[in-house]
């Protein structure tokens, strides 16, 4: 399965600032996704990162708050903008392999705390 690297692994940020999270895969993948895991909760899909076009956002998530880039088939970024303490979560990148078949594979996540 693909090896997924997320950076940073954790960060502590001040409210009102923005942070960009990177997701790098060691092989070309069909699809990349971004999830949020709030403290003690399950995972919620933020958006599907589309290569060469705008991301597809799920209900409750907007581009102004969570801009996403995917310049090629192995890399994507998620920015958490104008952060508040409610944004303190784990953000995870996942990928679907070249054949488009499940399952999705996940990175180790970025643990974000907002003061």
């Amino acid at each position: 399965s693909a090896v997924i690297s997320q950076k940073p692994s954790r960060d502590i940020c001040q409210r009102g600032t923005s942070l960009t999270i990177q997701c790098q895969v060691d092989s070309q993948v069909t699809m990349m996704f971004w999830y949020r895991q709030q403290p003690g909760q399950s995972l919620t899909l933020i958006a599907t990162a589309n290569q060469g076009s705008e991301a597809t956002y799920e209900s409750g998530f907007v581009i102004d708050k969570f801009p996403i880039s995917r310049p090629n088939l192995t890399f994507s970024t998620l920015t958490v903008s104008n952060m508040s303490p409610e944004d303190s979560s784990i953000y995870l990148c996942s990928v679907l392999g070249g054949s488009g078949n499940q399952p999705q594979h996940f990175g180790d996540g970025t643990r974000l705390s907002i003061l």
């Binding site: 997924i4 078949n101 399952p103």
Partner: protein
């Protein structure tokens, strides 16, 4: 539409005894089902998957799960728990054989293993 219900939020077992994590699903489509494990400060690791082949699925680390369509269940078992099995476990469903790759996550089951 699809959803997952994990029937136990927390399971505590003694080392060397069996583990049972219960999962029920609902899906408008023929489902693909997965179990993922999340160890502290780590991402999600795939334990096993069901994608319409054999109903008894064997996974990594001695885990297995049985797909029972009549009961809409996909319970995870392990005959003998190890201390390293202490983690969060997620049951996940997605439509099988479609272009909808969205995963629906259960709320998770926390497993503690007593020495």
């Amino acid at each position: 539409a699809q959803s997952v219900t994990q029937l136990d939020s927390h399971v505590s077992v003694s080392e060397g005894t069996p583990v049972l994590l219960r999962c029920n699903y609902s899906s408008s489509y023929s489902p693909s089902l997965f179990w993922y494990v999340q160890h502290p400060n780590k991402g999600l690791q795939l334990l096993l998957k069901y994608t319409s082949a054999a109903t008894l699925v064997k996974g990594i680390n001695g885990f297995e799960a049985e797909f029972k369509k009549s009961e809409t269940s996909f319970h995870l078992t392990k005959p003998s728990a190890h201390m390293s099995d202490a983690a969060e476990y997620f049951c996940v469903v997605s439509p099988h054989g479609t272009n909808d790759y969205k995963l629906s996550f259960g709320a998770g089951t926390t497993v503690t293993v007593r020495a």
